[in-house]
Symmetry: C2
Amino acid sequence: MREELRSDLLEVGRLLVSMAEAARTAMSRATSGLLTADREACETVIARDAEINDLRNQVEERVYDTLARQSPVAVDLRLLVTGLQIAIDLERMGDLAEHVAKTALRRHPSPAVPAELRPVFIRMAEVADRIAGKINLVLTTQNLQLAAQLEGDDDAMDDLERELFRILLGKDWPYGAETAIDGALLGRFYERYADHAVNAGQQVVYLVTGESTPS
Amino acid sequence: MREELRSDLLEVGRLLVSMAEAARTAMSRATSGLLTADREACETVIARDAEINDLRNQVEERVYDTLARQSPVAVDLRLLVTGLQIAIDLERMGDLAEHVAKTALRRHPSPAVPAELRPVFIRMAEVADRIAGKINLVLTTQNLQLAAQLEGDDDAMDDLERELFRILLGKDWPYGAETAIDGALLGRFYERYADHAVNAGQQVVYLVTGESTPS
């Protein structure tokens, strides 16, 4: 690979690391805002989503600029376009964190999540954070064993979503429709966040190895 | 533009037209399955989602193949990568139609949507269908006036989602949490479908004109 192209690819990788960090922080902060009805944390997530969007634009510009200047072929080409697709997933993760923060704010100062649902959301947030963290680790360390765990992490999130619905739909659900709806939508935000994170992680494997993970 | 490259771009365009048609049919069929508790319609949507995914793979292969063979630059390059991004949105629209079909099936033979919500879902489905139809019309006729209406269509969907929530959260909501949750999630599927359709439509404008719509 030519030196200049390698340096362009590294820069795309650096931008993706910043995006992945920002998307991870956003969800972690949104969760904390959600579980402690912390208005400031929620507002920070919303305000800083623009930074993630801006990073995505930077990735796009850098990719197009590289494509135009270097005319890369074959694997290099796929790598660059893969960078673009990862940026789309990471941006969407930021949006989903913002949805969590907005849901929490809509109920503020009441908690959007009643006591019965706290344990499952705490675990959903842990799984989301673990997957998001792996994207960065794979990007920076090229540790593919971590990437191989992504499917299992995704299954864990799906199990948690099923558990959430068992509680929401249980005969003894003591709250009304509004709290049930918030719970279901929040569950979906975490689940979609994890889906995008797994997708990004698998594409990162391609980015660092040039090989797709079997799926 | 070289003749061969032009023919590759046209082929990508044809695949996108097929995808857009399939994504539109999927949601229209899912809506009909939802509103009439028609099991067969729902099962057809689920079975045929694989065709949309397969079309997306064909777009990807054709784009990468063209990039590799033709080494396009500047605008041509952006056009090809834009084709890839449109395919991602269209595939996701197919997934969302599948979610609607699965929600309907889960309640079958009961209707997932109670009488109070039918009018709003009928209108959501109309807006979704209108937006999806415009993607194809812009692709095939390059009529940019249609594309200019997309933002307004999206606003109409957002208004409908707000109306849906007003009903779900009204004091006199006569159903339990499960029906409220289904209603909220279904509303979200239509709203996300419209978002992806608008996004695809705006990128289609770029595809056919080489110019971005102001957003």
